[in-house]
């Protein structure tokens, strides 16, 4: 568990200015400060929370706000699937509690760790350490950001912590050609689809990135054998 907290430490430290940037956005918006701070505990997802603040401020109807936030968070379903094998040994109640801490940061660090750690107990401890320590820094940053709001000097460039965090996260995930294609397509299509209705640009971009990456992966495999045969890696357990 300590190993996970230690590995995610640089990201947890960055979660503080990221939370601060979010808190400042709440303080400067029309959104209620208390509700904005509470969202960091209940929702625990920076990108979606920032979208909520922006849309409420723009006077969007409730179903557009909720719909957009859920679309932005739909990526958690995909992380959830990627992490599912590591959680399979634990009771359902536990898995629900573990799922709460699922963030981009906890998922990426844990998936990198899981590649070299076969033991499910170590995997869970690592994930829990990473997820909970990251969440605590996010809460702390939010509270202080909402509290001191606009008194943070602009020279500190707190807002830059948001894209910087995503740059630091995306680079280690690009380890082969297919991942590079997924990232490039995801990036470009998100920009092209920026005016898509209900802020669905990110979801469209991500979907296109995965599709093109998968295509590249299938084509790079040897000729006609490119069709995946389910279950061949786990001794047919899925058959």
């Amino acid at each position: 568990m300590l190993a996970g907290a230690r590995a995610i430490l640089p990201l947890s430290i960055a979660a503080f200015p990221f939370g601060l940037a979010y808190g400042v956005a709440v303080a400067e918006s029309s959104m209620n400060d208390l509700v904005g701070a509470l969202a960091s505990v209940l929702v625990l997802a920076g990108a979606a929370q920032l979208a909520i603040v922006e849309l409420l401020d723009a006077g969007a109807p409730w179903f557009v706000v909720v719909g957009t936030a859920l679309v932005v968070n739909a990526r958690f379903m995909m992380y959830s699937g990627a992490l599912a094998p590591s959680f399979s040994d634990y009771p359902r109640r536990w898995r629900l509690a573990l799922a709460y801490f699922l963030t981009d940061q906890a998922a990426v660090t844990s998936l990198l760790y899981n590649e070299r750690q076969p033991d499910p107990r170590a995997r869970m401890g690592y994930y829990l350490g990473a997820g909970s320590s990251f969440a605590m820094m996010w809460w702390l940053g939010t509270l202080i950001g909402v509290g001191i709001g606009a008194t943070i000097p602009a020279e500190l460039q707190v807002g830059f912590a948001v894209p910087l965090m995503f740059v630091a996260l995306v680079v280690p995930t690009v380890r082969d050609r297919a991942a590079l294609i997924a990232a490039c397509v995801g990036f470009s299509v998100t920009l092209i689809a920026r005016d898509a209705p209900m802020s669905t640009g990110l979801l469209i971009g991500a979907g296109a990135g995965v599709a093109f990456g998968l295509l590249a992966k299938l084509r790079s495999l040897d000729g006609g054998r490119s069709v995946a045969r389910p279950g061949r890696q786990d001794g047919g357990a899925g058959a």
């Binding site: 958690f76 460039q157 680079v171």
Partner: protein, 103 residues
């Protein structure tokens, strides 16, 4: 305020359901290799999309070229060379401060 609280609660419930979806549904069952390959591509695609959205866009419009772009390039290079989160974030923040001071 009540309206906003209900809205946040709805997002929270939906988000938890999505976070738990696969962990509770798929746990114990073997995931086909093709699905596993697709899931491996989700992180690069989504995170690159988030970079596009938070760095290049600002309120739906393109952000004017400036220190943020240059600092992000420095951070990206450091991330690629060192593969360490700490150095990446430090390089990015120091770059943006220096560039802003010079501008």
């Amino acid at each position: 305020m009540t309206h906003e609280l209900l809205l946040v609660a709805a997002v929270a419930a939906g988000t938890l359901a999505m976070r738990a979806s696969m962990v509770t549904l798929l746990a114990g069952t073997a995931i086909p290799a093709s699905v596993e390959q697709a899931l491996g591509l989700v992180a690069p695609a989504v995170l690159a999309g988030l970079v596009a959205q938070t760095l290049f866009l600002d309120g739906g419009e393109f952000r004017p070229f400036g220190s943020w772009y240059l600092a992000a390039v420095v951070a990206g290079l450091v991330a690629w060379r060192t593969r360490t989160f700490g150095w990446t974030l430090l390089a990015g923040m120091v770059s943006v401060w220096l560039l802003e001071a010079l501008a």
